[in-house]
Symmetry: C2
Subunit: 314 residues, 2 copies
Amino acid sequence: MLLAEMGRKKEPMEVPQLLIDLTELRQAIDGALENYTRDATGAPQRLVGAMRYSVLAPGKRLRPLLTLLASQAISGNWDAAIPAACAIEFIHVYSLIHDDLPSMDDDDLRRGQPTCHRQYDEATAILAGDSLQMLAIEVLCKAYDCELAAKCCEIVAVSAGRQWLVGGQADDLAAEGRYGQVEIANELRFDYLKSIHRRKTGAIIEASLRLGGVVASASEAQIQHLCEYGQALGLAFQITDDCLDVDGTVEQLGKQTRKDSTHGKLTYPRVLGLEGSRQLVSELIANACQAVSSFGETAAGLVQIARFVEQRRS
Amino acid sequence: MLLAEMGRKKEPMEVPQLLIDLTELRQAIDGALENYTRDATGAPQRLVGAMRYSVLAPGKRLRPLLTLLASQAISGNWDAAIPAACAIEFIHVYSLIHDDLPSMDDDDLRRGQPTCHRQYDEATAILAGDSLQMLAIEVLCKAYDCELAAKCCEIVAVSAGRQWLVGGQADDLAAEGRYGQVEIANELRFDYLKSIHRRKTGAIIEASLRLGGVVASASEAQIQHLCEYGQALGLAFQITDDCLDVDGTVEQLGKQTRKDSTHGKLTYPRVLGLEGSRQLVSELIANACQAVSSFGETAAGLVQIARFVEQRRS
């Protein structure tokens, strides 16, 4: 029984508030991640070790949960979405490994442990990230029939490509002045900030939902609702990330804080202030819940995740 | 007219020797690479610039040519194989960009121009490589129907993953003593060397041929012949690479030479000597030509490429 009993909706904005037990979903995700990253013929121990070190580190598993819960929202089941959920987590973890590298965000701590290149070395970290990208595609191709596999591969490849994930990271580094300093007029800064977040964080979150929908044979209209939810949630998630960098602690987050201000990074709190940022998060979460309200009770998991993002302290 | 008139085969080992004009194929590849890497909404200029800088640099285009010629060998046509040919070239170029990084092979020169991280910066080079991986998958998914796309994506993902391309590169760095020094007994060194080359270079060359075969609806037996050709050619190519590092010049190769001996790298000339290495190349090329001899005249392009590898000075 995945969904606890829920109250009836009275109007679209009043969403189910009862808690769903996500333990089973998390365990299924962790088990599959463990399986998919096991030793494989020809794969060097050190490389596999680095992949597993980063993939199996304790994480929120937000993206794979979204894939499972999107599938659940559409079909009432999440089992078939496990490979897609793992694929998107592999993409997410690869992006963390590469973003943490000295030539990028230069981070020493991630998920409460040394970053991949600190634990292993830079070359191994780069190669671990590279293999995780291909593992995501391999898992999709091996798990699904051709039609589903091709659709899922395209979603992953586009969202993780130059126009979205990687493009957002490149512009984020540029905005930070890491290279090719970008001059942005003051009145355009907020739009620029949104554009970076939409690409760097939003696209993969949206892809997580889209994958869950596609695996559950969602209609175009249903995918559209999932994407609206994903866009609002993704932006809210990034804003809370920015806020936690200001008022969170290393213990809560498992990574360094105050990095953004140290690097003069363009963030939501810098543009809107902490209170304004939190207010925007609340509005976005309301929009997200609204977007999936038509799915009714099967979307309770998505609503719960949205509430979690609104209130998260880690 | 792609194939020049050829003499008749008298026995399997006597392969067509007349030259085929590869200009049209090269132009088709270059045109498609140019198209696929054009500006795309949301993709930062600098990132796109770095991708194009490395992709459009003058290269031999060995891998995409093999894809086209494998397709030609099976169906007599190569047009439909262009997207697959570009996908494998994107994977190859990404691997060059990442392998050249300071934490890996630390190269300054590639294809006669500064390496990507020297021309741009390290972060941009890493991100350009990352986007090229995803672009390869995107191109396959958009160009082909689901069945073909899924098959091609799996070929690319497996061959470029932890068991093959990336695994080979990781063990190559280890063998070089870059990290996690590997102790290898003297009598096992040659096997270890072959295993690295088979994964680092051979797998992508084999994948190039497999892709061409799959796109041309080859039978399993035909794919097997193409792969045998690819395995022999891939190894021969790597050995000539090692030899050219010893007796080639920077002008011929467009990259630094004597890198292997400087880094104490395990190479064929070090194990077999230059003459022994060249002898092995000749045997492998004979095997490669033998493997595709049953295709007859449509395999003339593959034979020509094999002869080119045997005699290459760049």
